[in-house]
Structure formats: C-alpha cells, structure tokens
Amino acid sequence: MIISETVRVAAEPPVVYGAFADLDRWVRILPDVLDVEVFYFDGYNQEFSMTVERPGGPETVRGVRYHRPFRELELVQTTPPPGLSRMCGTWRFSDDGGSTVVTATREFILAGDRHAALGEEGFAAVLRTALRTNLALFRKALETDGTH
C-alpha cells in the first residue's frame, strides 16, 4: 500500500532539502529518534541505521537513501521495522514561490501477525499520522525554533 502526506515550509528547497538530507539533524528535530549512524555516504548513496522509541521499546531499522539535491530523497529500508517486509518511500521537494512543498510517500507491505489487529488500512492510518507529525516537526524546526 502507498500513502503520502504533504507539508508546505516557508523556506527555499535547498534549505528544506538540507534538513531532511542531514541525518544528524533528525535526532535534534524528531523526539522519538534516539540514535542515527551513517555507515556509508558518497554524496549520492547513503547507508544508515536509525533507532526510534516505540511503545514496545526501541526499534532499529537499517536502510539506504539516494540523495538527489534539491528535489528528492529516496529511501529503502533493507532491514524494515518488525512486522513489515517492505518499507520504501521518497521525500519530494518542489519550489512554490519561495516556499517548499514537501511530499512524503511511503510504500509498505505487512508481514507476519504483528500488525494483524490493525490490518493494512489501520496500519496505513497510523503511518499517515506519524508522517504528518514528522513533517510538522520539520516545518516547525525550519520556520521557527532554529533546531535545524
């Protein structure tokens, strides 16, 4: 299933792209991100792990991002979160009169029974909420409080 969420940020695409591209900033901007480690980055290909706080305890995913300044970041989690066999997506950045429209898209496939109670639609709703929250936190960091 594919879902997407959009936010408009009052800053130009290079600035907004830069915040999403730099994983060190994720730890400062998103409170549930506990740790980030970058294993490889050559300017385009990036391999990383990210540990996030979840109700059941910390979860660590491992993934790859492809950096296409200042228009797109593409993500694939080669070690997806528990209960998923696939988690891929993009952030796309488009200029809108000096502001930036950020569209985050995610494609996921459930695996096993971990999310059986939610089902695909229920999990999509949870993921949409998380995406919306994260985009709003990035907007806040970029527009107001300078944590970026």
């Binding site: 294993f39 790859v64 694939v76 080669t78």
Partner: protein, 157 residues
C-alpha cells in the same frame, strides 16, 4: 577518483541481458569467480547481497546495494573490495529493437587504498579492472548462448 567504462554489444534482447545482470544468483552461474551469493534484501527495485568472489587468486567478500530503474542498475558497495576505499558503478543496457542487439555499458568509479599491498600501481590496477569487466560481459554473453562482441573500451574518455 578513478572512473572506467567498458562497452560490449551482446546479441540478446535487452530484457534478457538486464535480467541476468539484476539476478545475482544467475550472475554467479555466468561469472565463475563468484563462489557464493547471499541475497539479504530484494523488492524488485532495490537489492542487497553479499558475495564471495575471486580476484587474482584471493577471495574477497563484497556487500553490494543495488537500485534498478528500467534497464539501468546502479550500485555501491558499503563493504568494498579490500584494495578500494570505496567503489560504485552501474550497468546500463541499451536496446536496438531492429536487431535484437543489446549494448551494455559497465561503469565503475573507485578509489584505491594507497597503503593496500594488493592495489599496486593505479595504472596497472585500472588496466586489470578494465579487462576484468570485459571478461564479465563476455561470460554473460556466453551464458546467454552467444559470443560477446567487443566494442569500445574507454577509460573515462
């Protein structure tokens, strides 16, 4: 950074050629120096695998992450061959629909470790790497049942 490029014409449909290059298990059957392949992630567009491969009599363990869009496969190796500080590249398969001929361009970018004993002289390593890429494509052509046709061998021209 070093950049090399090898081009081969392979008389087989582009879809078949890119299918072979995209499947590390079938590629192992085509390229004998690969002794082991373990695919750890595959979703049709993204792929991660580790292979054991022989180079100059030594076994290297290389972990590769690949991304496919159409007939272009790009990759990087977070665990690179031991004489390289980093290593990335692409297979680009062009199609000539009139003749059913494929034109495969293999691109590699890398940086040698200056202190690694196997790396040796950069120019020698570069020539050997070009030849090796050519052999890989020739063996792919053999595997597909046809001889490869040497085309150009560029070295960043």
């Amino acid at each position: 950074m070093e950049r090399i490029e090898v081009v081969r014409r392979i008389p087989a449909p582009a879809a078949r050629v890119v299918g072979l290059l995209w499947d590390p298990v079938e590629l192992q059957r085509a390229w004998d120096p690969i002794s082991e392949v373990a695919v750890s992630y595959h979703d049709g567009r993204n792929q991660e695998f580790t292979m054991r491969v022989r180079r100059d009599g030594r076994i290297e363990s290389v972990r590769t992450i690949r991304f496919r869009r159409g007939r272009t496969i790009t990759f990087f190796t977070p665990l690179a061959p031991p004489m390289m500080a980093w290593h990335r590249g692409a297979w680009v398969v062009g199609a000539d629909t009139d003749t059913d001929l494929s034109v495969v361009t293999a691109v590699r970018e890398y940086e040698l470790r200056a202190d690694h004993p196997v790396a040796g002289e950069p120019a020698v390593f570069r020539a050997a790497f070009l030849a090796r890429l050519g052999r890989i494509l020739d063996r792919c052509a053999d595997h597909l049942g046809v001889p490869g046709t040497p085309s150009t061998q560029g070295a960043g021209e």
